[in-house]
Symmetry: D2
Subunit: 363 residues, 4 copies
C-alpha cells in the first residue's frame, strides 16, 4: 500500500497547475487515503532541501480557480546540471541527482508526480531510469508536445491573446492604424496562429514559416486599397524574416533575466511604419498570457490529468505520463513522450484555414 | 464551375453560427470567387419564400465575435412536416419539400450548406436523397452528436455555466447555503457534467444517471458534518429521480412556448430545504447559456468548419457533413452522422473523474 | 492607544466585503500596529459566542479578488430581536443585546466595525447609543442608501446583469423572441434600471413605477411592426402592475428560505406570450448577481471604505458611518444615515434618459 | 425648429464613443424627429470635405457594446493649425477654420456635437466664439478633466489594467519575480493609481510624484525579507525618477508614429533586476487599454451624455459641455471646462489610501 506521494511543478507556470494539484490531492485522499506531499519550487526544492508540506483537502479548497502554482516553480532546478556559484562568482554546473534521490528517500516518498514541460519530463525520465517511481503530467503553454493532443494552459493563453486582439480591433479601426501584437511562441507558433484566426488577424507570422517582408506589406496595402484602412498583425516572438536580416533587439541584462525588449514585434512595427507610411502601434503581451484563472476547458483537462496521475501511481505505471488522446486520458511512456516537439505544419490544415479566409502568413 | 452557394441556419442558436457563416463567405469569395446567398430563418425561409440576400465581405465583417445568427433561425421549418394553420384554427402538418426544392432552383442555387442540429441535418439528408447538393455543418450546444468529437457553442455554454458557478460559490460560502443551478441538457448531461467539474460542484445530476434522493442528501450532509457548511448542486434540466416521483412543474402556455418553470431544479431545491432544513436557493440559467460572444475555442472550430464546408462544396462531396475527428476537420456521410446521439456513459472516464474528486452524481 | 478592533459583516453578501476587510486589516496593522479580530457570522457570532480569530496580513492576502466574506454572515442575528426556539418548536424573539455587549468586553474589544446594510447599521446605531464604540461601513447591493452616493457591490451586480442581457440579445434576435430577465430589487429598481439601460433593454419595469400591461405590450408590438422582431424586457423582482392584479407565485417553504419561484418575471413572460402570441423566455438571474470577483470600481471603493473606517476608529469618530460624497470618503452620523432609503425618482434624470432613447418603463 | 445636428469624434478613441453616438441619434430621432449627420474622422473630415452620412436608428443598432467609434477619428485635424504638406515635403500649419465653417453651412448644419478631449473641446470653444452652435461631450481615457467628475472610457481602461494585474499576480507569485506593468498616463496618474490599488500592486509610480529609486527598491526588498518573494510594480508612462536621470528610450520613427519602446517601464525593470538581483519581467499594456467593449459604467455614462447633449442642442445651450457633477449630468460653459487638467494630488485621499495599505508611491 502507498503511503506517500510527492508532487512538484517545474518550469514556467501555466493556468491549471493548481487544478492538477487539487485533483491529485482529492483523488489521493478521497479514493485511496494516501498522503500527498507538496515539494516547493520544483526540483530545486528537493536539491536544496526546502521543507515540503502535507497537502490535505483544506489546502486545496479554492485552487480550481487560481492561476499559478501554490508549490512555486523554478527554472534553474535541473538536478543533473545544477548551477553552483563558485567563490570567484562564476557558476559551474554539477550533477546533484544523488542528493535529490536521497532526499526523496529521507522523505519516505513512494512515488513522485512531476508536472512540467519537456525539460522537466526529460529529467523525470532520467530519474525513473535511476529507480525513482515517477509519473509525469505534461505542461506547456505553447501546446508543442507531440505526445498529447492538447496541454492545459494553452486554451487560457489563446483566450487572453484573443481578448487582446478584440480590444485592438476597435481602436485600430477608429484610427486607421496598423496594430502589431507580439505573442509567446519561441519555437512553436500555435498561440499566434490559433488566437490570430480566432481574433480576426490580417497577418500572422510564426517561427515555422520564415516570412517575406514584401508579403506582409502587400497584404496590408491591399486592404488599404480596398478601403479597409487598418490591419492587425500577430507575431510570435520566435518569428523571423526569410534570410534573417536585421532585427532591432536589446537584451538588458541576461544574468538577471530581464525580459528582452525591442524584439521581432517592434521590428515588424517599425518596418510597416517605414515602408507603408502608416501609423503603427506595437504591444508585447508578455507574461499576461501565462497568468490568470484557468479557462473552463483548462480546469477540466487539468482535473482529468490530476485524477489519472494518481490512478497511475496506484496502478504502478511509473515512467509514464498522462496524455490526452482521442478524448481519453491515457498513460504514455515518458521515453516516447519527451524530446518530440509538435510544430505547426506549414502545409497543415490550420495554416490552410488561415489562408482560406484571407489571412497572410507572410509567404 | 460553381456560381451560387446558399447557406442557412436551423434549430436553436449557438455561439459560433456567425463565425461559420463568415468563414464560408470569406472562403467562397477569396478562394473561389463564388456567390453566396443567405437564406433567412432556416428551412422556413425557403418554404415561405422569404427573400435571401447575397453575402459579401462587408456583410460578414465583425461577425467573428457576434453571438446568434444574422440569418435568423426557426424551430418550425421542417419542410416534410410543415405546420399549416387551418381556417378553424387547428394546425395540420403537410409535406412542403417540393416547394423548397423548387425555390432552390428558382434561386439558381448549386449547393446548399445547412448549419444545424440532428433535426436539421436529418432533413438535409432527406433533401440530398431527393437530389439537392447538400453539405451539413453540425451544431448542437449540448455536444451530443456522435459523428463529431465536439460541436461549436458547447465550450461557450460551459464557460458561461462555469462562471455562474464561480459566482454562486462565494455567496454560498458566505451564507452557508445550498445553491442549486439548473443547466441545459434535456437528454444529454454534458453541459452539467463538464461545467460542474470545472466549477467545483459537490453534486451533479444528469439525465443519464437517475438519481437517488438519499445520495444527494447524504453528500450535502456529509459536507456539513465536516464543517463545509455550503454545497453547490448542478442539475441538468432533464435529470430525474430513480422511479420518477413527484416533480413540481408548471407549464404556462405550451402553444406560445413560454419556458416552463418549477422544473427539476426547483424540485431538488425544495427537497434539500425540506429534508436538511437548510437555506437553499435555486437559479435556472436558461437561455443565457446559448448567447453571447463565442469563446476562442468555438470561434476557431466554427471557422474551420465554415472553411471546410465550402471546400467540400467545391470538391462535390455532397451528402456529407464536416466533422472534427482526431484534431482534423473531415467529411463524414450524413447518413452515418444523423440519428446517433452521444450520451454520457455512466461508467465512462468523465463520470469517474467526477467521483474520484468527491463529486456525487446521485447514485 | 487602541489595542483591539473587531470587525463583522451582516446581512446579504456583496462583492467587495472581503476587500473592505483586507483594507481595514492592512491599515490597522501597517499604519497603527493595532490588533484586529474577525467575528464570524455577523452579530449572531457575538450572541452565540462563536470564536473570533485574529486577522493578520497573511489572512488577508488574496482577499481583494474574492467575492463573499471570509467572516461569514447571517440574516438572523438581530441581537435586539433574537430568535429563540422554544421547547414546543415555536420561535419567540428576545433581546440579547446585553449578551453581545458583554461578549465585546470579554474579548477586550475597543471598537467594532460593522459592515452591513440598513438593518445592520440600525443595530449598530442602537449599540452605539448603549455605549459601544461603533463605526459603520455601508453595504447594499441595491444601492438604495441615501447617505452615500454609491455602495460597493452594486457595480459588480449591474455588470453581471448587463453581461446576461448581452447574451440574451443575440439569442433573442436570432429567434425573434421576447426575453424577460428578472433582476434583484425588491423596493429599489436601480439594478434593473441601470443594467437595463446599459444592456439595451426595450422595456424596464421597476417597483417605483407601477406598470400598465397595455404600455408593455404596446412597446413590444410597435417594435414588431417596425421589423424588430425581438424584445428584451427587464423586470425588477419588486415590480408590479398598476392596481396589483394576479401574479403567479409559489413560495415553496418560507421556513427554510427556498427562493420563491413563479414571481413577477414569469408573470410578465406569461402575459406577453398570451397577449402577443409571441415566443417568450424567462430567466431569473438570482444569486449570481451577488457573487463573484468584485469589479475594479467595487474593489477600489471597498478599499477606500476599509481604510477610512480604521482611520475613524483611530480618530474616535464613533457612531459614524463612512460615506462616499462628491468623490470623497467622509464620516456621516449613523443617526442620519439609517432609515433613509434612496429610491428611483420616476421623474428623475435616469428614468428620463431611459425614455429618451425609446425604452418603455411601462407607464 | 432644428433640422440638422452634426456629430464628430476627435482625438484618441475611448470605449463608449459609440454609445454616445447611439444615444444622441436615438434621442434626436425618437424625441425630436431631428436629422443627425455623422462626420467622418473628426474635424479633419470637415476640413478635407469627406462625405458625412445620415445616422438613423438602424445605423446605431448594436453600437452600445462596440468599442471605438464608427465615425473614425483623427489626431491631426486642428482646423486652426492644419498641417499642409509643401511641394518640397516639409509641412507647414495653416488656419483652415473658415473652410470648416463654410462646410458646416454647406451641409446646412444647425448644431455641431463634438465628442473629444481637451484639445478637441478647445477647438470647439474657438468655433463657438466664431458663431458655430457647438455642444461638447468630454472624452479622455485618462480621466484628467476638471470640469466633470469622471469621463467615460476610464472605467473600462482601469478594468483592463486591473485584469492584467490579476493575471500577473499569479505568475509573479509562482516564480518569485518582480513584475513591472507600464500603463497609460503621460501627465495624469489616475489609471496607474486606481488600477494599481484595485489590482493589488506593491509599488505605484505616477507622473505627479517623482520617485526615489531607493524607495522603490526598499519596498520590494522589505517584502522579500518578510517572505513575500514577488512584487508587482505599476508605472504610468509619464512617471520619472527624482532629478530625472537616465531613462532607456528609443523612438523609432516619430514621423509615422511608431510607439516608442524602451520607456520608463523597461527602465524600472532594468534597475530592479540590477540593484536587487531579482528576476524581473516588463509588460507594456499599450493600446489594449483603449479598446474593447465599454464597461457597464461607461455605457451608462456615455448614454447619459449623449441624451443630454441633444437636449442641450434643443434648449440652445451652445458653447457648453455636458458634465457629470454630483451624480447629475449638467451643462458647463466650455470656457470654464477647457484647459483645466485634473491631476492626482500627492497629498490627496487616493494616494493616502494607497499608502495606508502599504503601497509605496516611490517617495
Amino acid at each position: 500500500m502507498l503511503h506517500n506521494i510527492a508532487i512538484l511543478t517545474g518550469g514556467g507556470d501555466a493556468p491549471g497547475l493548481n487544478a492538477v494539484i487539487r485533483a491529485a490531492v482529492k483523488t489521493a485522499k478521497v479514493q485511496y487515503g494516501a498522503h500527498i506531499l507538496g515539494i516547493p519550487d520544483g526540483y530545486d526544492g528537493l536539491v536544496n532541501g526546502s521543507d515540503p508540506w502535507e497537502l490535505d483537502l483544506p489546502e486545496v479548497a479554492g485552487l480550481l480557480y487560481r492561476g499559478g502554482t501554490i508549490l512555486g516553480t523554478s527554472n534553474r532546478g535541473d538536478p543533473f546540471n545544477y548551477p553552483v556559484e563558485q567563490p570567484d562568482g562564476t557558476v559551474i554546473k554539477e550533477d546533484k541527482s544523488e542528493i535529490l534521490i536521497e532526499r526523496l528517500k529521507e522523505l519516505r516518498v513512494d512515488a513522485l508526480i512531476v508536472i512540467g514541460g519537456d525539460g522537466s519530463l526529460t529529467i523525470a525520465n532520467e530519474l525513473f531510469k535511476r529507480g525513482t517511481n515517477v509519473i509525469g503530467v505534461p505542461k506547456t503553454i505553447d501546446n508543442d508536445l507531440s505526445a498529447t493532443e492538447v496541454t492545459f494552459g494553452f486554451d487560457t493563453a489563446i483566450t487572453t491573446a484573443t481578448e487582446a486582439l478584440d480590444k485592438l480591433h476597435t481602436t485600430a479601426e477608429s484610427h486607421h492604424r496598423a496594430m502589431v501584437l507580439e505573442l509567446m511562441g519561441r519555437d512553436a507558433g500555435w498561440i499566434a496562429l490559433e488566437s490570430g484566426i480566432a481574433g480576426g488577424a490580417d497577418v500572422i507570422l510564426i517561427p515555422e514559416i520564415p516570412f517575406k517582408w514584401s508579403s506582409v506589406m502587400k497584404r496590408i496595402d491591399d486592404r488599404r486599397k480596398k478601403g479597409r484602412k487598418f490591419s492587425i498583425i500577430v507575431v510570435a516572438e520566435g518569428a523571423f524574416p526569410e534570410g534573417g536580416g536585421q532585427v532591432v533587439q536589446q537584451t538588458a541584462d541576461e544574468t538577471h533575466g530581464l525580459a528582452r525588449f525591442g524584439g521581432i514585434g517592434h521590428a515588424v512595427g517599425l518596418e510597416i511604419a517605414k515602408q507603408l507610411k502608416m501609423e503603427t502601434r506595437v504591444t508585447v503581451l508578455g507574461h499576461i498570457q501565462r497568468g490568470g484563472k484557468p479557462s473552463t476547458f483548462d480546469r477540466l483537462l487539468a482535473t482529468r490529468l490530476g485524477v489519472e496521475a494518481v490512478n497511475m501511481v496506484v496502478r504502478g505505471e511509473f515512467g509514464h505520463m498522462v496524455a490526452l488522446r482521442g478524448g481519453k486520458v491515457i498513460p504514455v511512456p515518458l521515453e516516447e513522450a519527451v524530446g518530440n516537439q509538435k510544430l505547426v505544419d506549414p502545409n497543415g490544415q490550420m495554416v490552410m484555414v488561415a489562408e482560406s479566409i484571407g489571412i497572410s502568413v507572410g509567404r
